[in-house]
Symmetry: C2
Protein backbone atom coordinates (compact mmCIF):
# COMPACT_ATOMS: atom_id res chain seq x y z
CA UNK A 1 0.00 0.00 0.00
CA UNK A 2 1.28 3.45 -0.84
CA UNK A 3 0.29 6.69 0.85
CA UNK A 4 1.15 10.33 0.43
CA UNK A 5 1.25 12.80 3.30
CA UNK A 6 1.08 16.49 2.41
CA UNK A 7 2.51 19.03 4.84
CA UNK A 8 2.19 22.77 4.28
CA UNK A 9 2.19 25.95 6.32
CA UNK A 10 -1.19 26.94 7.71
CA UNK A 11 -2.73 29.61 5.50
CA UNK A 12 -2.20 32.18 8.27
CA UNK A 13 1.56 31.55 8.32
CA UNK A 14 3.80 33.55 6.01
CA UNK A 15 5.64 31.52 3.35
CA UNK A 16 8.72 33.58 2.40
CA UNK A 17 10.07 30.86 0.08
CA UNK A 18 6.83 30.76 -1.90
CA UNK A 19 6.75 34.56 -1.97
CA UNK A 20 10.31 34.67 -3.31
CA UNK A 21 9.44 32.19 -6.07
CA UNK A 22 6.35 34.25 -6.92
CA UNK A 23 8.45 37.44 -7.19
CA UNK A 24 11.02 35.64 -9.33
CA UNK A 25 8.29 34.41 -11.70
CA UNK A 26 6.92 37.94 -12.04
CA UNK A 27 10.47 39.11 -12.82
CA UNK A 28 10.68 36.44 -15.53
CA UNK A 29 7.50 37.79 -17.12
CA UNK A 30 4.89 35.37 -15.76
CA UNK A 31 2.46 38.09 -14.71
CA UNK A 32 -0.47 35.65 -14.62
CA UNK A 33 0.95 33.93 -11.53
CA UNK A 34 -0.98 35.24 -8.54
CA UNK A 35 0.44 33.42 -5.56
CA UNK A 36 2.80 30.56 -4.73
CA UNK A 37 2.80 28.49 -1.53
CA UNK A 38 5.37 25.76 -1.02
CA UNK A 39 4.81 22.51 0.85
CA UNK A 40 6.36 19.10 1.38
CA UNK A 41 5.03 15.66 0.64
CA UNK A 42 6.11 12.22 1.78
CA UNK A 43 5.54 9.12 -0.30
CA UNK A 44 5.31 6.28 2.19
CA UNK A 45 5.01 2.59 1.42
CA UNK A 46 3.23 0.46 3.97
CA UNK A 47 3.66 -3.33 4.29
CA UNK A 48 0.98 -5.22 2.36
CA UNK A 49 -0.44 -7.11 5.36
CA UNK A 50 -1.57 -3.86 7.02
CA UNK A 51 -5.30 -3.10 7.03
CA UNK A 52 -6.50 0.16 5.52
CA UNK A 53 -7.85 1.39 8.88
CA UNK A 54 -4.62 0.55 10.71
CA UNK A 55 -2.52 2.21 8.00
CA UNK A 56 -4.64 5.35 8.02
CA UNK A 57 -4.56 5.50 11.83
CA UNK A 58 -0.77 5.04 11.95
CA UNK A 59 -0.19 7.58 9.19
CA UNK A 60 -2.35 10.20 10.92
CA UNK A 61 -0.25 9.76 14.08
CA UNK A 62 3.01 9.80 12.08
CA UNK A 63 1.94 12.96 10.23
CA UNK A 64 0.94 14.69 13.46
CA UNK A 65 3.88 13.59 15.61
CA UNK A 66 6.78 13.25 13.18
CA UNK A 67 6.25 14.83 9.76
CA UNK A 68 4.45 18.07 10.60
CA UNK A 69 4.69 20.75 13.23
CA UNK A 70 0.98 21.14 14.05
CA UNK A 71 1.55 24.58 15.58
CA UNK A 72 2.30 26.12 12.18
CA UNK A 73 1.62 23.35 9.65
CA UNK A 74 -1.40 21.51 8.30
CA UNK A 75 -1.18 17.95 7.03
CA UNK A 76 -3.30 15.67 4.92
CA UNK A 77 -3.02 11.90 4.51
CA UNK A 78 -3.95 10.34 1.15
CA UNK A 79 -3.97 6.60 0.52
CA UNK A 80 -2.85 6.11 -3.10
CA UNK A 81 -3.41 2.36 -3.53
CA UNK B 1 -7.29 28.72 -11.56
CA UNK B 2 -5.18 26.77 -9.10
CA UNK B 3 -2.43 24.32 -9.97
CA UNK B 4 -0.08 22.10 -8.01
CA UNK B 5 3.42 21.25 -9.17
CA UNK B 6 5.06 18.21 -7.59
CA UNK B 7 8.86 17.99 -7.54
CA UNK B 8 10.69 14.95 -6.26
CA UNK B 9 14.03 13.25 -6.71
CA UNK B 10 14.23 10.84 -9.63
CA UNK B 11 13.80 7.29 -8.36
CA UNK B 12 17.47 6.58 -9.12
CA UNK B 13 18.63 9.42 -6.83
CA UNK B 14 19.24 8.67 -3.15
CA UNK B 15 16.95 10.50 -0.73
CA UNK B 16 18.84 10.66 2.60
CA UNK B 17 16.15 12.77 4.28
CA UNK B 18 13.45 10.23 3.43
CA UNK B 19 15.73 7.42 4.58
CA UNK B 20 16.35 9.17 7.90
CA UNK B 21 12.61 9.59 8.46
CA UNK B 22 12.09 5.92 7.59
CA UNK B 23 14.74 4.85 10.12
CA UNK B 24 13.22 7.14 12.77
CA UNK B 25 9.78 5.62 12.19
CA UNK B 26 11.19 2.10 12.57
CA UNK B 27 12.84 3.26 15.80
CA UNK B 28 9.44 4.50 17.01
CA UNK B 29 7.94 1.06 16.38
CA UNK B 30 6.29 1.58 12.98
CA UNK B 31 7.70 -1.58 11.44
CA UNK B 32 5.05 -1.64 8.69
CA UNK B 33 6.62 1.41 7.03
CA UNK B 34 8.66 0.15 4.11
CA UNK B 35 10.08 3.23 2.47
CA UNK B 36 9.80 7.02 2.63
CA UNK B 37 10.63 9.47 -0.17
CA UNK B 38 10.32 13.18 0.37
CA UNK B 39 9.30 15.73 -2.23
CA UNK B 40 8.13 19.32 -2.59
CA UNK B 41 4.96 20.76 -3.99
CA UNK B 42 4.01 24.25 -5.06
CA UNK B 43 0.43 25.52 -4.94
CA UNK B 44 0.22 28.16 -7.64
CA UNK B 45 -2.72 30.40 -8.41
CA UNK B 46 -3.06 31.59 -11.98
CA UNK B 47 -5.05 34.69 -13.02
CA UNK B 48 -8.60 33.80 -14.07
CA UNK B 49 -8.34 35.17 -17.63
CA UNK B 50 -5.66 32.61 -18.56
CA UNK B 51 -6.69 29.74 -20.83
CA UNK B 52 -6.14 26.18 -19.63
CA UNK B 53 -3.68 25.45 -22.46
CA UNK B 54 -1.67 28.61 -21.80
CA UNK B 55 -1.60 27.93 -18.04
CA UNK B 56 -0.47 24.34 -18.56
CA UNK B 57 2.21 25.42 -21.04
CA UNK B 58 3.52 28.16 -18.74
CA UNK B 59 3.50 25.86 -15.72
CA UNK B 60 5.42 23.14 -17.57
CA UNK B 61 8.11 25.71 -18.44
CA UNK B 62 8.11 27.13 -14.90
CA UNK B 63 8.42 23.63 -13.41
CA UNK B 64 11.25 22.72 -15.77
CA UNK B 65 13.18 26.00 -15.60
CA UNK B 66 12.53 27.32 -12.09
CA UNK B 67 11.03 24.83 -9.65
CA UNK B 68 12.88 21.62 -10.47
CA UNK B 69 16.41 20.62 -11.30
CA UNK B 70 15.71 18.26 -14.23
CA UNK B 71 19.10 16.59 -13.87
CA UNK B 72 18.10 14.95 -10.58
CA UNK B 73 14.41 15.76 -10.14
CA UNK B 74 11.14 14.80 -11.78
CA UNK B 75 8.15 17.12 -11.82
CA UNK B 76 4.45 16.82 -12.48
CA UNK B 77 1.93 19.58 -13.13
CA UNK B 78 -1.66 19.13 -11.93
CA UNK B 79 -4.43 21.63 -12.62
CA UNK B 80 -6.71 21.61 -9.54
CA UNK B 81 -9.57 23.83 -10.72
Amino acid sequence: MRARVFVSFKSTVLDPQGQTICNALHGLGYQAIGNVRQGKFFDISVADGTSLEQARKDLEVIAHEVLANPVIEDYQVEILD
